[in-house]
Symmetry: C2
Subunit: 259 residues, 2 copies
């Protein structure tokens, strides 16, 4: 089995949930037309990200229900970035994955908060994400700054992931993360990395686009430019992961007795 993933690179509409859900619904239909069985949005795409005090009122549980409905209607799995409000009122920078019937597969809360931007809005998650099976393909997830820590992708690869899916909102001056670091993360773990970024501006941030899907050999399978809007699409084949791990056996060659 393989899994064809479409990533949505888009400006979104800061603070306008209905507009963003409409964009996701359009993209879900487009993804299915183009042969994808999973759609991935950027980080915090459902509400907008750098929207300050406007965020808290939008962080309601119904966001997940709306994503599930879009998935069911279009017949495509979705990984969407959105906020969650915890019982104590704190907010997390989260993502939810639902299958093509709208059933929840996993939820993950960003564990590595980025600077004042994240820390002024969110509390961190307290667990690394699980690795789950979709159509025989093992996927794990991270959010933006998480992937910049080699420990996180290593943990996903060691848990058997074929692909690490990373909604992000990467801004200037960090285009080099998208261009240079992401292919290295794929290569050093022999794992697909799906890096789906925003474009445009939001408050004082200019997002850098440059979304990519990278193979376990570190080869870019599909990508978009700094300001492109649309889908990037590639197929995750577990056999590609296995082949890469035979040819470049970093995981097997780790000296776990030393670190």
């Amino acid at each position: 089995m393989t899994l064809t993933i479409a990533g949505l690179q888009h400006d979104g509409v800061a603070g306008d949930v209905e507009a963003n859900l409409a964009i996701i619904a359009d993209a879900a239909r487009d993804a299915v037309t183009r042969g994808a069985s999973m759609l991935v949005t950027p980080e915090m795409f459902v509400t907008g990200y750098n929207i300050g005090d406007a965020l808290a009122p939008l962080a309601v549980p119904e966001l997940v229900d709306r994503i599930a409905a879009i998935a069911r209607d279009a017949g495509v799995a979705i990984i969407a970035g959105l906020p969650e409000t915890l019982q104590d009122g704190a907010i997390t920078n989260s993502l939810v994955a639902v299958d093509r019937e709208g059933a929840e597969l996993l939820r993950y809360r960003k564990t590595h908060l980025f600077g004042d931007l994240d820390r002024s809005l969110f509390v961190p998650g307290d667990t690394l994400p699980p690795t789950v099976d979709i159509d025989g393909v093992k996927i794990s997830v991270l959010i933006c700054y998480d992937v910049e820590f080699p420990e996180t992708v290593r943990a996903a690869a060691l848990s058997g992931a074929d692909a690490v899916i990373v909604p992000t909102a990467q801004m200037e001056p960090y285009a080099h993360i998208a261009e240079r670091l992401i292919p290295v993360r794929a290569w050093e773990n022999q794992v697909h990395v799906v890096y789906v970024n925003r474009t445009g501006t939001e408050g004082d941030l200019t997002y850098v686009g440059r979304s990519s899907i990278v193979s376990p050999e570190g080869v870019v399978l599909d990508s978009l430019g700094p300001t492109d809007t649309g889908l990037l699409i590639a197929t995750i084949d577990p056999e590609a992961t296995r082949r890469a791990r035979r040819e470049n056996p970093y995981l097997a060659d780790r000296r776990t007795d030393l670190y």
Copy 2:
């Protein structure tokens, strides 16, 4: 205090210790003339690397004495790649660091053996390298394949290293390690990386050159091309390390409770 390091990118002469020591002595004098206080050779440069059965007879303790003499004569610290024979007769892929008086600063045995090439010749080392102080600058070391594991550079950075010095013998088709992975290792740890490679051919290997010295911001401070012979030189300033760690606090932002 700062430390100006010269890396020697060179073909070397496979199996000819006297020729290689003469090359190192010339480079040591040149390095001093150009203001460097440390010279770094590629991996296994003193004897040659991919020389099969010719290696064992050359793996004698006197190699270290010869390097120490060159350091003392030129007045420059040297990190040189060479083999060591253990008491049981096994050979290691090692490096030795001596100061400008020829006193030994550290010795390190490659812990991550690369494929059949290394495994047919060497036994692995059983400890990560120490971090040592030279002229107020903290340096650590790795050898070639070691640096491709993010765990190793992370360990050096966490031990306080300002620079990780990496003699290597990187061959086709792995030029992307030199070009892409090395700057990411520097960036993700806010540490200087000094990557000193061979050129030319040796047996069935074609070395890819492309030595570089990269700043803690991931900026290439000096580099050489695929077939250049000569020195690359840059100054390691601990203040640059501290500044990078304030601006990009990956080390502080690690979630050590999760991995």
